[in-house]
Amino acid sequence: MYKCSKESLGALLSAINEKYALYVPKKHGEGSVSSFEAYGDGENMYLSGITDRGIKELFFPQCEEIARFVTANGAFGVKETAVKSGYNVIFGARACDIKGLQTLDLVFLAEPEDRLYKSRREAGIVVSLSCGEPSETCFCTCFGVDPSKSGDIAAIGTDGAYYFEILTEKGRLLIPELSSVCKTTDDDIEAERDKIRAKAALMPAALAAKDLPDKKTDELFDLPVWDKLSAHCLGCGTCTYLCPTCQCYDIKDSKTADGAARCRFWDSCMYSDFTKMSAGQPRLTQKERYRQRFMHKLVYFKENQGIYGCVGCGRCVRKCPASAHMIKVIKELGKADERHT
């Protein structure tokens, strides 16, 4: 384990930034939202809470080119977009967002692997920062997330110091930078971690969502409560775009000077044309779309992958313009449980 004073964090990050592309959470003033950005001069770092936007977009960008089609002199070629090589570092990620990546892995790294996601995942060294300031909307502990420890390297802030524990082989790549600024230590920080875990588990959302539905599709699909839950859903894509585990995408071409570029970009199951075909539309109203999103997170994903497709980051809870959020769904589906038994 490595230890540095709170004041030395800047020196450590600068050392990392010299060798790697470094991304840190930033917030530019009170009116702006927080998100992960290039370290730059280290100004405007925001380390005191979960960011408005997570780290998903560093691995699965909102829009990325997958191929180019080149038409020249009657010839017609396809060129795959090259992947970038070399490592980069993400500092300050929260454990919920890292669990989000592990959830995305189950989809994107399953055969056939998603080439672009995989390359970014392999290149990304993720340094978590313990989450000592949970929000009332946090319920990561319901999904087995440890808010004090995650990623390739787990950083934890105590009163006067930061501790860094290397958790993976990839994390060892930063030993030179850690050694240049930090001392090694045998300090026991488990008590600090326990405090963080305990605080997170007591958040109102965590208490409200502690009974997750453990039911099959046919037990929940036709519940009348979906009408009530979805009644005021606007059908916007806010929840899906901010969600660390939402991975739906669309593929579309745009014209370039010498042909076309094929891009894939985020799409949302909340949108009315998501499943609309020339031949018909299986999800006709917002109720079906809303049900799809929450059934996917709480039931379908679990049936396919063995874990829930939600990590309890609470972004959808904070940002839904109609408060038609995950906590309400979990509680209502929990009541369905009572009705069944």
Binding site: I66, A67, F69, T71, F76, G77, V78, K79, E80, V107, F108, A110, P112, D114, R115, L116, T217, D218, F221, D222, Q247, C248, Y249, D250, I251, D253, S254, K255, G259, A260, R262, R264, D267, C269, F274, T275, K276, M277, S278, A279, G280, P282, R283, E288, Q292, M295, H296, V299, Y300, F301, E303, N304
Partner: protein
Amino acid sequence: MNAIHDPLVPQVCVIREIITETPDVKTFHITAENGEKPFDHLPGQCAMLSIPCEGEAMFSITSPMDSDRLEFSVKRCGSFTNRLHDAAPGEKILVRGPYGRPFPVSDFENEDLLFIAGGIGLAPVRSVIDSCLDRREKYGKIRIIYGARSYPDLVFKDSLFGKWKEADNTEVFVTVDRGGDGWSGHVGFVPQYVSEVCNDCKPVVILCGPPVMIKFTLAELTKLGFEKYRVYTTLEMKMKCGIGKCGRCNIGSKYVCRDGPVFRLDELEELPDEY
């Protein structure tokens, strides 16, 4: 030419031949640029066809598994299919695949087979029929029931009234919803025709067609006492990736692109009613 590693990136192919089946259906014969088949496939599998900036969509492969080219029968029904219908032989087209779970043709060996199709639904079924006829000795009696709106709307007329009709131990029953246009055969809907043709036999069923036809035919088959695990059909949903990742073709926890498009009736009945 760069090697393609990304399952989302298509290869350049060429439309070799275009056959006009009906006023709104054309069959496209496609090979790689070097004239070879772009990839191997099994009956029931699909592939993504695209033209840069014009769209990309999933179509079932109509040709049998031993064919040296890929064939797609495409009904004109949206912007991309309109564009395809305007294509000419020799034109380049982008193809990726094959996708999806095929019909388990090896499980069908030694069985009597009943193919039931409506409209453009004969496209995926044709791949199975021709694959079985290519190995005729391995299968029992083959019956084909096919219906369309009218005589001009019948696809694959050469096969229906030629090759299939003349094949060994094979019967073809064609019906149209509406007579006239030079049609002198059976008039009526497919589900009713099924009970006329097959009230005392219990072959394996391969069924494909518009949702309403599937619905009534399944009801008819159930009434006739067909066992659910011997009835196969295909589903259609909007698709973008073809590999179970883009998240839109699921019905409950099953992805039609990956877990389908072929489903057995007993599997179908376990899915939530959202297709």
